[in-house]
């Protein structure tokens, strides 16, 4: 891994910051576009920046801007945003064991958890909290400063989609998913998760498909808790085949 030398020199937080660098132009650009759109929707400069500092989650913030900008109610804007951010519940739960220190410290550190920092912190099946903090800090700076730039600049800037930056995120998540797929249960969970999300996208409000996809982790229930991984030859083939449909339950 190219990160290992960085990890020795700067520690895992430095490695996390380094790992997130390729994404910062995209995050900055989306922060700028949030600032621009929030101004266009009449949110006001201070409210826009406070939102990026406290909510710190792109999709939910864009949802609030688009609902309010289209004349929707405050309740509808809040509902859409909370639904979109509900995935952070299970994401943070999956990382909970890695957090250290008192409750306040865990609460504050957990705020640096967003899709990208959470995904980057998955290291060989373990969750590295310091990578989360390093990557999250970089993302936080990029997102909030991007918002401030967008608020100040108005709509004189390029749309990130023109630069293809919206295509960077699914590719990043695929790149982070790929090493996890060596494990058979992880493959089953990933396939089922993607299938659930795709099937629900046309029929449920945005946010629901990703939450519902967490049901795919129930694929883990079919393995006896005590059995360690490597005994592949001994597992009956029938148990493998039952993985797919069971996982989608």
């Amino acid at each position: 891994m190219p990160e290992s030398r960085t990890a020795r020199r700067f520690g895992p937080a430095g490695a996390g910051l380094r790992a997130v660098m390729p994404l910062l132009p995209a995050v900055l650009a989306f922060g700028v576009s949030f600032g621009v759109l929030a101004q266009a929707a009449g949110m006001g400069a201070v409210a826009s920046i406070v939102m990026s500092m406290t909510t710190f989650a792109g999709s939910a913030q864009f949802a609030v801007v688009s609902v309010l900008g289209a004349g929707g109610t405050v309740a509808a804007a809040i509902g859409a945003a909370v639904l979109l951010n509900a995935r952070y519940g299970p994401m943070a739960l999956s990382a909970a064991h890695a957090f250290r220190g008192g409750r306040l410290r865990r609460l504050l550190e957990a705020q640096l958890l967003v899709d990208e920092s959470w995904a980057l912190a998955q290291r060989d099946g373990r969750f590295d909290r310091r990578v989360l903090l390093g990557a999250g800090a970089g993302l936080y700076l990029g997102w909030t400063s991007g918002t401030a730039i967008g608020v100040a600049a108005g709509d004189s800037l390029a749309d990130p989609a023109t630069l293809g930056l919206d295509a960077a995120f699914p590719a990043l998540f695929l790149g982070l998913l790929a090493p996890l797929l060596r494990d058979r249960d992880a493959r089953a969970a990933a396939l089922a998760g993607a299938a659930i999300a795709i099937c629900l996208t046309p029929i449920t409000p945005a946010g629901i498909p990703v939450i519902a996809a967490t049901a795919a982790c129930l694929a883990g229930l079919r393995r006896p808790a005590a059995a360690p991984a490597p005994s592949y030859g001994q597992r009956p083939p029938a148990a493998q085949r039952s993985g797919g449909p069971e996982a989608k339950r």
Binding site: V74, R103, P170, C217, L221, A226
Partner: protein, 102 residues
């Protein structure tokens, strides 16, 4: 208080609570092995769902646009064991070039 500020504060508080709930209530200790197995599979399930929605969802519709082409190009880079930076740049460049010619 204006509606905008109510939305900003309520969404902010809800998001902070969602992120903090797991680490504050269950932080610092290892889960029992059975639930650890299930929770461990949250990562592949959620990552795959994020790939699917970020590449193919537009509001509440499934679409096949330049993002899918970018993802496919990124997947090739992943198979070729390219570093993450290259994967991301390949995906963005592919989508940008396709939009340029479209």
């Amino acid at each position: 208080m204006s509606g905008v500020w109510i939305a900003v504060l309520v969404v902010g508080a809800a998001t902070i609570a969602l992120k903090a709930a797991g680490p504050v209530l269950a932080g610092g200790r290892e889960l029992p092995q059975g639930s650890a197995r299930v929770v461990g599979l949250l990562a592949p399930a959620l990552l795959a769902a994020l790939v699917a929605t970020q590449a193919f969802a537009a509001d509440e519709a499934l679409v096949l646009d330049e993002r899918a082409a970018g993802l496919a190009a990124g997947a090739v880079a992943i198979v070729l064991k390219a570093p993450l930076l290259v994967v991301v740049v390949v995906a963005a460049t592919t989508a940008a070039l396709l939009r340029l010619v479209a």
